[in-house]
């Protein structure tokens, strides 16, 4: 059996039974989307790293206490944990000490750039930053639906329940979010 064909549900089951390698597979499978969701919510990479760790530590705790019963829906479940921790962060308004160099740049980011072609890394980062900036310009309600649906893999119905609106409202917000993103991209293209 190929490792990447094992379902999340099976990985969770085997991890709970003591197979530590299954957690590593779950983390590697979902880390980027969960981290991106958190980063887009808190808009700070350092805090996102911290909340990402907290999210998985909570996931580990819940799995080991057999509190996970959402069969086959690991990512939306993990996203809800991440979102709740991000909301707690905003409530507490506790910030991690900044770890920057003398220019104020992201030290962790510089380390990772060294491991790949520097030019490629800069182009990739510019693209990431540009799209993230556009998402951050969206009205909060549209931004929230877009992040939870596209990166967090929550269904529109789950988003509707979570944000206490109808499914049509959640869908409408997503449509406006995508339209607004497209308009912003078109406007920037015209300017260039």
């Amino acid at each position: 059996m190929q490792l990447n064909t094992i379902s999340d549900q099976k990985l969770v089951k085997q991890y709970v039974q003591g197979n530590e390698a299954c957690l590593e597979m779950l983390v590697n499978r979902h880390k980027d989307r969960i981290f991106t969701t958190i980063h887009l919510i808190v808009k700070d990479r350092y805090i996102a790293e911290d909340l990402f760790q907290e999210t998985f530590i909570k996931i580990i705790s819940n799995l080991k206490r057999k509190k996970y019963n959402e069969e086959g829906k690991f990512l939306p479940w993990a996203t809800r944990i991440a979102r709740n921790l991000a909301i707690d962060y905003f409530r507490k308004k506790q910030r991690m000490p900044m770890v920057t160099d003398s220019s104020g740049d992201d030290v962790f980011r510089k380390f990772s750039i060294k491991t790949e072609n520097r030019e490629e890394a800069i182009i990739r980062k510019e693209k990431e930053d540009h799209v993230r900036d556009l998402i951050n310009k969206l009205p909060d309600e549209q931004r929230q639906v877009l992040i939870l649906r596209h990166y967090g893999d929550l269904s529109f119905k789950e988003i509707a329940n979570l944000t206490d609106v109808s499914i049509n409202t959640a869908l409408g917000r997503m449509r406006y979010a995508l339209n607004n993103m497209r308009k912003m991209i078109e406007q920037q293209t015209v300017k260039v």
């Binding site: 530590e20 880390k31 980027d32 790293e49 760790q53 580990i60 799209v131 869908l171 449509r175 497209r182």
Partner: protein, 77 residues
Amino acid sequence: MKTDITQNDLLLYAYNELEEPKRSQLEVALSLDEGLMANYQEITGMQSILNTAIEAPHNTSLQIILEESSSSALELI
């Protein structure tokens, strides 16, 4: 061809949430209606752009998580 496919249906389809029989109806409509197909491609184009913002956490975070898992496993023994 006139269909009762809405923009919400297209969005649900793009995110793999549209259920049968609406899903099959939409697929037929997409093959016949260029305007509808253009609208669908706008959504998938935006999905591709959004995917460029997906980023990885730092390796240190991953190590911390896996160490936490191992140490909590030891506690259980």
